[in-house]
């Protein structure tokens, strides 16, 4: 079953010189449990594609289907519900809610989605080496630790689709590699599909499939 289906997706941004097209008819499909690396040079539309897939932005044309639901049929509230229930997003930075502890951050989305499972949260925290940090606030953690919290949080909700935008982009090479290993393993265990934006060939190489975006279209 297809977790994510993009069909001829168009997206442009307004500018003073008229609309600037960012996505020019992207068609893509991902099955459950599949991992896909999305690469491309800066400005090629990688992040936009991710945002559209997450329902954070709305496509101008074409069809976006997440876990069998056509985005075009949803309003703001519906898209938000979809984000809560089926999707999880990990960004390069600022993923965490600064006013909540690490533990509360991990639990938060799962609780929002109504799928809170304390055992799963604990397991994720343990697996990501966060056991000793659950009572701390995010600001007390290093960048790698913060991204681990973001991963734990994303997976704690048991999403069908995990979207990650340069999740290790802010980390040094060794930490990035370690975080990547942990993430891939957990995604695999959870049976979720992972779409990851990256410009690192190394990271892309570790994914099941690799597509490249150039000037808003897949190569």
């Amino acid at each position: 079953m297809s977790v994510l289906t993009l069909d001829d997706v168009q997206k442009s941004y307004p500018s003073t010189d008229g609309p600037v097209p960012v996505l020019r008819g992207v068609t893509l499909s991902m099955a459950a449990g599949e991992t896909l690396a999305l690469t491309g040079e800066s400005g090629s539309g990688k992040s936009t594609l991710l945002h559209v897939a997450a329902g954070l932005e709305v496509a101008d044309g074409g069809q976006v289907e997440v876990a069998g639901t056509d985005m075009a049929t949803l309003g703001d509230t519906g898209r938000a519900a979809l984000r809560r229930g089926k999707v999880a997003v990990i960004f390069q930075q600022f993923n965490l809610i600064p006013s909540l502890t690490v533990g509360a951050n991990i639990d938060f989305q799962a609780q929002l989605a109504g799928r809170y499972d304390p055992a799963r949260s604990t397991r994720l925290a343990d697996a990501l080496g966060l056991k000793d940090h659950v009572h701390k606030y995010p600001e007390a953690l290093s960048g790698g630790q913060q991204q681990r919290v973001a991963i734990a949080r994303a997976l704690a909700a048991g999403p069908a689709l995990l979207l990650a935008d340069e999740p290790t982009g802010n980390l040094d090479e060794d930490t990035a590699s370690a975080v990547m290993d942990e993430m891939l393993e957990l995604v695999h265990d959870a049976g979720a599909a992972l779409l990851m934006v990256t410009h690192s060939p190394l990271m892309a190489g570790r994914m099941g499939r690799h597509v490249r975006l150039h000037s808003g279209a897949l190569e």
Partner: protein
């Protein structure tokens, strides 16, 4: 370098126009409220002075005719030639306008025509028959005489030379003579020169001044509180602008701008903004005062029975004080920040400190400061004496309460978070707590505003209740008749006894009791006294004891001065116990009240100087007495007087109510500005929650709810603070200022309304920032996560 640095510093305001607006608006509102209240006070006082100065009422002794006599011009000349420096006054009315004739050469008045009257017209004051009046009065004055407009003329009075007015009124006698303060050596007694005239000391003509002073004090305290509320806006915006420019300051110093130059320029910038905001505020205060002044004028007219101009002029005393306070307020707000910058090493981190750590530290500091100030306020309230101590108590108490507010809110939100079931609720409370540092100044402002409103309305309402009861007590007899001499008393008393339902002779003499000068009053104990008098403290059956000449009643002023209370004895010819202490407002003298039998024994031969008469038909009783030869001027219809006095407080309420609304509006504005300036910082905090599946609309709704929660907590905290404020005003400040303590009453209905108003102000303030959030472009939220920010 200075120019370049200035441009760099000023660029901040170009990029943060909202902050600039908040700063100027905050200063303007704070100064405006202060200046407005000052303007009302200054204008009311100046108008009263102008009226009193012109009329010579209140401040000068007067010579008036004895009953049935008149003052002739010859009497005036005779007195002057005997060495009495006096000035004649004649008054009457033309239509509804009071016309006052003065003798400008001898008048002690301070009536200033000089500003308006032209040279040629000055010549004419005495000669060809001119009157002077303000524009309103001229419009209403129907006379053939030429009337010159004089802006400083007292309201509803046309003033002219005594000769002119005498001719207009067709009079050749005088109404009264004002006695100048400086009299020459070797002056003979009045009785030797003009036995048919009597001297009316100034003290007897002005005895409600204390009420007006109390009113002014009330307004002044309110003005200060309002200013404090506004100052919170200034403080928070100046703080923010300095905080946001730390990076700029660091860069400028790295580029070689000397610290001294930088600090001086920033200080100059604050001064410039303060001047600008202060000027705006003075304009605002003027508008506000002009709108409120008719009510104040009405209130004072009621209190004094004298006129206060309903118009306003720019008096230097209040606009200067407004400017000074705007500058001082900004200096206080900026001083600490400038000092920090002065100590900051050139390459210190430009990053603001981690919020949680900083907030915890600030909370600890604030908690300790609040505790210290609170203890100081308590100590002062219990042991302090003097008016200054009263006001310092007030200040310490309010600042302590304001500082304590975040310290109180923090555990409340923590508790709520721990009790919260849903993740959203948990996040909501956690986020609420995180918002606290940014909003705490605005919340303190709201606290002060609500507390001030609760305090002042408690005070004014208590004042009204007390005063109404006092009027009922003291003005119970429907008709009050003053007596000039024993013959008249002997002649009228039998007639009163038959015509009135109850006759209450009032015996009075001056004496010294327990080392204090007092008025000793002798009264006939009857149902009127028994039913109407309410005591501050009393024995079981005070009136029986007083009637039986076995006890006395003291007024509060005397009880305080002599420290004699129920249970003590008063040293008269034999020591007598105090049966009761009665509140006595608007009277500075101590009084000892005795039964008439005891009074006769102690002061034999004293005749009543006044009678209170109970009746159902005032007009009939008055006619009877007039027929019997009583003087119409000597009879007072106390029912009408009471009605009139009560109107005063209705007007006071109008003014207080308007100020209440304004203060809350300022607090609401402070909140709005804080929320707007925080809005940018909020985006990174909200973006993850949004990304995780909350709509912008629901986030916006939560923002409004949060404001409501804050306001509710603030309102709850404000209640005890406001009541404490009222207590200090009534039980401390008023006692120190006027010698009597006002009993405090509680008005839960009013507080509920005020609480609702505070809630409404906060919700309104949150509305705009929330709407902005609801409509925030997703791109702005996504930027948070973007690779390059």
């Amino acid at each position: 370098m200075i120019a370049a640095t200035s441009v760099a510093l000023a660029s901040h305001w170009r990029r943060h126009k909202l902050q600039l607006f908040a700063l100027l608006a905050g200063l303007a509102l704070a100064t405006g409220l202060w200046a407005g209240v000052q303007a009302i006070n200054a204008e009311a006082r100046a108008s009263y002075d102008a009226a009193a100065g012109t009329l010579g009422e209140g401040q000068f002794d007067q010579i008036v005719p004895r009953r049935g006599e008149v003052i002739t011009v010859d009497d005036y000349v005779t007195l002057r030639r005997a060495g009495w420096r006096v000035s004649p006054v004649i008054e009457g009315s033309i239509g509804e306008v009071r016309v006052l004739g003065l003798e400008p050469l001898s008048s002690p008045g301070r009536f200033d025509l000089g500003r308006v009257a032209q040279d040629s017209e000055m010549d004419d004051f005495i000669g060809p028959g001119l009157l002077f009046a303000d524009a309103d009065t001229i419009a209403r004055l129907q006379t053939k005489a030429r009337v010159i407009e004089a802006a400083d003329a007292p309201p509803n009075i046309a003033v002219g030379d005594i000769g002119v007015v005498a001719r207009l009124l067709g009079r050749d006698d005088l109404d009264r003579l004002l006695v100048l303060p400086d009299q020459p050596l070797g002056q003979p007694a009045l009785a030797d020169v003009a036995p048919h005239l009597r001297l009316l000391p100034a003290a007897q003509t002005a005895d409600v001044g204390e009420l007006t002073d109390s009113f002014h004090l009330n307004l002044t305290a309110f003005g200060l509180l309002s200013f404090a509320v506004g100052l919170f806006i200034v403080h928070s915006t100046i703080g923010l602008s300095f905080e946001q420019r730390r990076g700029l300051v660091r860069s400028l110093r790295a580029l070689g701008v000397p610290l001294r130059t930088l600090v001086s320029l920033m200080a100059a910038e604050v001064a410039l903004l303060a001047l600008l905001g202060g000027a705006l505020g003075i304009a605002l205060g003027y508008v506000m005062a002009a709108a409120l002044l008719p009510d104040v004028a009405g209130a004072l007219r009621g209190l004094y029975g004298a006129e206060v101009a309903g118009s306003l002029s720019l008096r230097p005393e209040w606009w200067l004080s407004g400017m000074a306070i705007a500058l001082a307020g900004s200096a206080v707000a900026a001083g600490g920040k400038l000092w920090q910058i002065g100590r900051m090493p050139p390459l210190a981190s430009a990053q603001p400190r981690a919020w949680a750590e900083a907030a915890r530290r600030a909370a600890r500091w604030q908690g300790m400061a609040a505790l210290g100030l609170g203890l100081a306020a308590l100590g002062l309230a219990l042991f302090g004496t003097g008016l200054i101590a009263g006001f310092v108590t007030l200040a310490a108490f309010l600042i302590a309460a304001a500082l304590a507010l975040p310290v109180i809110i923090r555990p409340v939100t923590a508790l709520a978070q721990s009790r919260a079931q849903s993740p959203l609720a948990q996040w909501f409370w956690a986020d609420t707590r995180q918002q606290l540092p940014g909003l705490s100044l605005a919340l303190m402002a709201l606290l002060l505003a609500v507390a001030a409103n609760i305090g002042v309305s408690t005070m004014v309402s208590s004042f009204r209740l007390t005063f109404t009861a006092f009027l009922d007590q003291r003005l119970a007899p429907e008709l009050y008749v003053q007596i000039e001499d024993p013959e008249e008393a002997a002649r009228l008393q039998p007639i009163m006894e038959t015509a009135a339902d109850e006759v209450l002779p009032l015996l009075r003499t001056d004496g010294v009791v327990a080392g204090q000068p007092v008025q000793v009053l002798g009264i006939r104990v009857g149902t009127t006294y028994r039913e109407n008098w309410v005591f501050l403290d009393q024995t079981d059956a005070p009136w029986d004891a007083v009637e039986a000449a076995g006890a006395v009643i003291l007024n509060e002023q005397f009880a305080r001065r002599a420290n004699l209370w129920v249970g003590d004895t008063v040293p008269l010819d034999t020591p007598l116990p105090v049966a009761a202490v009665v509140a006595d407002y608007g009277n500075p003298s101590g009084q000892v009240i005795l039964g008439d039998a005891l009074f006769d024994r102690l002061y034999p031969g004293t005749v009543p100087r006044a009678f209170g008469l109970r009746t159902n038909d005032i007009d009939a009783l008055r006619d009877t007495l007039l027929t019997a030869g009583a003087d119409a001027q000597a009879m007072t219809d106390q029912t009408a007087l009471k009605r009139f006095s009560l109107q005063v407080f209705e007007r006071t309420f109008l003014v207080t109510g308007a100020l209440n609304i304004l203060t809350l509006a300022v607090a609401g504005f402070a909140m709005l500005m804080s929320l707007l300036t925080l809005a940018d910082q909020r985006v990174p905090q909200l973006a993850p929650v949004w990304a995780m599946g909350l709509t912008r609309a629901s986030l916006a709704r939560l923002e409004v709810v949060r404001a409501g929660v804050f306001a509710a907590i603030v309102a709850l905290v404000a209640l005890p603070v406001g009541l404490g404020l009222a207590w200090v005003l009534l039980a401390r400040v008023n006692v120190e200022a006027f010698g009597w303590r006002l009993p405090m009453f509680l008005f839960p209905g009013d507080y509920a309304v005020l609480g609702a108003a505070a809630l409404a102000a906060a919700l309104l303030a949150a509305l705009w920032p929330s709407l902005r959030l609801a409509r925030l472009a997703p791109a702005r939220l996504l930027q948070v996560f973007a690779h390059e920010r």
